[in-house]
């Protein structure tokens, strides 16, 4: 589907498979329903070091998936990052 070859969840092995699983679990935990690994995490899958770093970033940023939708603060935890995405002209 993408511009570069991507490894799907069923094909992934080793560290890549582990990262796919963790990413999916964190999203699912944070959102309250099962979410497969988003396509975004597959774009670098043929160079797994980058996928691993993306997965680690997701872990640190979300407190291991604990606070995706936190909104008790004046500005929700992930809101500034969301604004970057919204104003980056990124279709995804």
């Amino acid at each position: 589907m993408g511009f570069v070859r991507m490894i799907e969840e069923g094909e992934a092995t080793g560290l890549l498979a582990e990262n796919y699983r963790l990413v999916s679990e964190r999203y699912s935990h944070g959102l309250g329903f099962h979410l497969p690994t988003p396509e975004l995490y597959k774009v670098s899958s043929i160079v797994p070091a980058y996928t691993h770093a993306l997965s680690e970033s997701q872990r640190l940023l979300t407190g291991d998936g604990q606070h995706y939708c936190e909104s008790d603060a004046a500005v929700p935890r992930l809101f500034a990052g969301f604004c970057v995405a919204a104003l980056s002209a990124c279709f995804h």
């Binding site: 589907m1 993408g2 511009f3 570069v4 070859r5 991507m6 979410l35 497969p36 988003p38 396509e39 975004l40 597959k42 774009v43 670098s44 043929i46 160079v47 070091a49 980058y50 770093a53 993306l54 680690e56 970033s57 997701q58 640190l60 940023l61 939708c69 909104s71 603060a73 004046a74 500005v75 929700p76 935890r77 992930l78 809101f79 500034a80 990052g81 969301f82 604004c83 970057v84 995405a85 919204a86 104003l87 980056s88 002209a89 990124c90 279709f91 995804h92």
Partner: protein, 310 residues
């Protein structure tokens, strides 16, 4: 996230068309401004803008959290654009409307600041950064020790994030990934060219210290930095170098313009998809750091972030 925060669909629509006019809480509006500046023209960030956040009750630790979220989101967004990631079936509706910002983005980006390729902005005169630092924390000490061992000094970027030390593992990993090609598909020279071009396009004095030194280490005696600072297309390059530079230039400020033709061109000159992935990530990671440095007013380091073993 938008429908959760703003149940009124009209507010959501207004936000995406012109967030300044939307009736939303003031701190939210500041977050939108922060995100816009980070994404589009971080080199124009000022200390007064950061003070405006403090005046609204957002402390420096929270500002760092915003910067970090923006960093990671920049990496995600640019990766998605560069790799042509399709929307997931489960992507919420708010994700689908993001593309509405393209026209505004283009108009504003092209009329702000100097033309792409101009010299990076002058180093900040701040001590370390515009945000407070606390260099007595244990986590900072650990990260500083890592940096001392690797680079021979502690980068100001680390010091700037001392109030959010839990983020250091990510910063360390990002810097490691930037040091050299990971895949073996991109040559060290191509990699250094990409890094230098990105610093120039982002007008980053912070990133320029390292990317220029890396380029001069890889290609001593060649005036490559100067060539990349102007219109690089006027200079001779190998077919592969030119393809890599064109792709990196498009990624750096207009990643939403990447199409399947761009990776295809890399293939035509003998580079594989891993090389494309490498360029995508080098541009994304470096841009995220350089933009965060702009937003936080991080002073340029006095030496490059090049590992001693290299």
């Amino acid at each position: 996230m938008l429908p959760q925060l703003y149940p009124d669909p009209q507010v959501v629509q207004q936000l995406l068309e012109d967030f300044e006019a939307a009736e939303i809480p003031w701190p939210h509006k500041l977050a939108w401004r922060f995100g816009k500046r980070f994404a589009q023209n971080s080199w124009e960030a000022t200390q007064a803008q950061l003070q405006e956040l403090r005046d609204a009750g957002i402390d420096d630790a929270e500002i760092l959290r915003w910067a970090e979220g923006a960093c990671v989101q920049t990496w995600w967004v640019m990766s998605a654009d560069g790799g042509g990631v399709a929307l997931d079936e489960f992507t919420p509706s708010s994700g689908r409307v993001v593309g509405l910002g393209r026209e505004a983005y283009e108009a504003e980006t092209l009329r702000t600041g100097a033309a792409p390729g101009a010299s990076p902005s002058a180093p900040s005169q701040a001590r370390v950064a515009w945000v407070e630092v606390d260099l007595q924390r244990t986590e900072y000490g650990q990260a500083a020790a890592w940096a001392e061992a690797r680079y021979g000094f502690v980068p100001n970027f680390f010091k700037a994030f001392s109030l959010r030390p839990q983020l250091y593992p990510r910063h360390q990993r990002a810097l490691e990934l930037l040091e050299a090609p990971v895949s073996g598909s991109l040559s060290p020279r191509q990699h250094a060219l990409v890094r230098a071009l990105v610093s120039q396009r982002n007008r980053s004095a912070y990133g320029a210290v390292t990317s220029r030194a890396l380029l001069e280490r890889i290609a001593p005696g060649e005036p490559l930095w100067q060539r990349l600072g102007g219109d690089y297309t006027r200079h001779p390059w190998s077919a592969a170098e030119r393809a890599v530079l064109d792709f990196a230039a498009k990624m750096a400020l207009t990643s939403y313009k990447v199409t399947d033709k761009d990776p295809a061109r890399l293939r035509e000159v003998g580079l594989d998809d891993a090389a494309t992935v490498e360029v995508i990530n080098v541009v994304s990671i470096q841009s995220s750091i350089e933009r965060a440095a702009h937003m936080l007013g991080v002073a340029a380091d006095t030496a490059p972030l090049l590992a001693r073993k290299a």
